[in-house]
C-alpha cells in the first residue's frame, strides 16, 4: 500500500469524521428535547439540568477509561484475549493528546480509523436514550452514575466484542450488527429495564400506571426532538461506514466498508434507512390510530429494527422487516406495560430494546450464510449467533448492570427523589426563586419609572 494512498485515506477520514461529529450532535440534542416534551411542567427544569450534566460526566469518564475498554476488549476469543494496541487508549498515553505521530496502525486500520470522539458521541447518545425512561422520579446523581456504568463501561465492552473488526463474538459466532441494533439499542433497552424495576413507576405507590400516550406534555417539542434524532441516526449510519483502501488484483480501491471492514455502499444503506423509517412510521400510525408518540416512535423502532443488517438488505426488505418489527414492538410494549406495570416514560424498552432484539433475530435468518467479516476464518452469519448476541447484549450487558447498579444506589437511598418532591415538582424551588426575582425586577422597574416620571415633571 503506497504512502500516497495512505495519505489520501487519512485525509478523507479526517474530513469525514470531523463533519460527522457535528451532525451526530443532533441525536443527543433531539433526545433532550424529546425528554423535555415528555416531562410535566413541574419537573421540566430539573429534567433539563439533570440530563445536561450527563454530557460532561460522559466526556470525562469516557476519556479516563471508556475508550480504553473498547480498545482493550476487542480481541478475543476470551474476555480480552490480550490488550492489543489498547495502551494507546489509556488516558496517560501520548496518543490521547495532539500527536503528530498518531497515524493509523496498518495492522488494525479500521479500529484506529474511527476516532475516539465518534465513540464518545455514541456513548452520549446511548445514555441519553436510556435515561428517558426514568425521568420525573430518578435523582440527578443516580442518573449520572448509572450513565457512567452504561456509557463508559458496558456498552463499550459489548461494542468491542460484537461491533469491531476483531471482536470474538464476530469471530466465533458470526455475530453481525452493522449499525448496532444489538450493541446499542437492544443493550440500552435491557439496561433501562434493569433500572426501571427497582426504580418503580412515577408517583410511587399509585396503582394506575401511566401510558406514554397520556403523558405527552409538549407535542411540538417531542416532534422537533424526534426529527433531530432521525438526523442523528443518519449521521450515525455514515459514521459506522468507513472509507478504506482495499487491495484487489487490479489495484487499490478506496471504498466504503462496514464496521467489520466488509464492503458496502452508502447509497444502499441510506436507502435502507429511509425505507425502514417509512415502514415504521406507517405501521405506528395504523396501530395507534394516528397517535403522535407512536408515529414518531414507530419510525425510530423501524430504524432500530433493521440496523443489524442494513448494510446488506434490499430497501424493500428493510421496509417489510420494519413494519413487522414495529407491530411486534407495539404489541409487546402494551403487554409488558399491563402485565408488569412498568412505567417507561419514553418507551425505551419497547422501541430500542425490543426493536433491536427482534431485528437481530430476524437478520439471523435473512442473512444466514453470509460472511460476517472479510476474514474468511470467521464464522458465517447464522440465526444462533444472532440470537446469542441478542441475549448477551440485552441481559448480560444491559439488564444485569442496570439492575445491580440501581439496587446499590437504592441501598444508599440515592436512587429516587423523595415522594413529596415527586408530587410537588422538582422545579418548585426554581419556580419560587424565579417568581421572587420577577417581583424584585418589577420593583426595580417601577422605581426607575417613577424616577423618570418625576424627572420629566421637573
Amino acid at each position: 500500500m503506497g504512502n500516497q494512498y495512505e495519505g489520501v485515506v487519512v485525509l478523507l477520514r479526517e474530513i469525514y469524521y470531523r463533519d460527522l461529529v457535528i451532525l451526530m450532535f443532533f441525536a443527543p440534542i433531539g433526545l433532550l428535547l424529546f425528554k423535555l416534551g415528555m416531562s410535566s411542567k413541574k419537573h421540566r427544569i430539573a429534567t433539563l439540568t439533570q440530563n445536561l450534566m450527563l454530557m460532561p460526566v460522559m466526556i470525562i469518564s469516557f476519556f479516563l477509561f471508556g475508550w480504553f475498554f473498547y480498545k482493550g476488549f476487542e480481541f478475543g476469543p476470551g474476555i480480552t484475549g490480550g490488550w492489543g494496541v489498547s495502551g494507546t487508549a489509556l488516558p496517560w498515553s501520548e496518543f490521547m493528546g495532539p500527536n503528530l505521530d498518531a497515524k493509523p496502525n496498518p495492522d488494525n486500520i479500521i479500529n484506529t480509523a474511527i476516532p475516539w470522539h465518534i465513540f464518545l458521541l455514541i456513548s452520549i447518545i446511548v445514555v441519553s436514550i436510556a435515561t428517558g425512561s426514568w425521568i420525573e422520579r430518578i435523582r440527578g446523581s443516580a442518573l449520572c452514575i448509572l450513565s457512567v456504568i452504561l456509557g463508559s463501561v458496558f456498552w463499550v465492552i459489548a461494542a468491542a466484542w460484537g461491533w469491531s473488526k476483531s471482536g470474538w463474538l464476530v469471530e466465533l459466532t458470526g455475530f453481525h450488527d452493522a449499525f448496532a441494533g444489538g450493541v446499542i439499542h437492544c443493550l440500552v433497552g435491557g439496561f433501562a429495564l434493569g433500572v426501571l424495576l427497582p426504580l418503580g413507576p412515577r408517583l410511587g405507590k399509585q396503582s394506575e400506571i401511566f401510558d406514554v400516550r397520556k403523558t405527552i406534555h409538549n407535542p411540538w417539542m417531542i416532534t422537533l426532538g424526534m426529527l433531530m434524532i432521525y438526523v442523528g441516526f443518519l449521521s450515525f449510519y455514515f459514521a459506522a461506514q468507513i472509507p478504506l483502501i482495499k487491495t484487489f488484483d487490479s489495484g487499490n480501491v478506496i471504498l466504503t466498508t462496514n464496521i467489520y471492514g466488509a464492503p458496502t455502499t452508502i447509497y444502499g444503506t441510506t436507502s435502507n434507512l429511509f425505507l425502514s423509517l417509512a415502514g415504521g412510521m406507517m405501521m405506528g400510525f395504523v396501530l395507534s390510530k394516528g397517535d403522535l408518540f407512536w408515529i414518531l416512535g414507530g419510525g425510530l423502532a423501524g430504524l432500530v429494527s433493521t440496523s443489524a443488517g442494513n448494510d446488506l438488505y434490499h430497501p424493500l426488505q428493510a421496509f417489510l422487516i420494519s413494519i413487522f418489527v414495529v407491530w411486534l414492538v407495539f404489541k409487546a410494549h402494551h403487554w409488558i406495560e399491563r402485565r408488569f406495570r412498568i412505567d417507561d416514560v419514553t418507551g425505551v424498552l419497547a422501541i430500542h430494546g425490543f426493536g433491536g432484539f427482534f431485528g437481530l433475530i430476524i437478520s439471523g435468518f435473512i442473512l444466514w450464510g453470509y460472511p460476517s467479516s472479510p476474514n474468511m476464518e470467521f464464522a458465517d452469519i447464522n440465526p444462533a449467533g444472532q440470537a446469542f448476541g441478542a441475549m448477551l447484549t440485552f441481559w448480560l450487558f444491559g439488564f444485569f448492570p442496570g439492575y445491580i447498579g440501581s439496587q446499590v444506589l437504592e441501598f444508599f437511598d440515592v436512587l429516587r427523589i423523595p415522594e413529596d418532591i415527586e408530587i410537588g415538582g422538582q422545579d418548585t424551588l426554581a419556580m419560587k426563586k424565579q417568581k421572587e426575582e420577577i417581583v424584585d425586577f418589577i420593583g426595580i422597574e417601577k422605581a426607575v419609572l417613577k424616577e423618570i416620571i418625576e424627572e420629566r415633571k421637573n
Binding site: 411542567k41 450534566m53 415538582g425 418548585t428
Partner: protein, 71 residues
C-alpha cells in the same frame, strides 16, 4: 516546556506537541480525583436542595387543593 524546538523535522519525530510531555500520569490522577469528588458533591448538593424543596412545597394537603391539571 515544549518537546521540540522547530517544525522543520519529520513530523513523526516531533510526536506529541502539548507541553510537559511525560507528566500525563499526574494530570490523570488529579482529574480522576476531581471527577470522583464531583459525584460526591452532586449527591451532597442534591440532598440539600431536596430539603429546601420539601420546605418550599409545604404540606401535601395544601398542594392537593391547588393541584393544577396542567402539572
Amino acid at each position: 516546556m515544549g518537546p521540540f524546538d522547530n517544525w522543520l523535522k519529520d513530523l513523526a519525530d516531533i510526536g506529541p506537541i502539548y507541553p510537559l510531555v511525560g507528566s500525563e500520569g499526574i494530570w490523570v490522577a488529579v482529574v480522576a480525583l476531581f471527577w470522583i469528588w464531583w459525584h460526591m458533591a452532586q449527591i451532597r448538593i442534591e440532598s440539600q436542595l431536596d430539603r429546601e424543596q420539601i420546605e418550599a412545597i409545604g404540606e401535601l394537603e395544601d398542594l392537593y387543593e391547588t393541584f393544577s391539571e396542567d402539572s
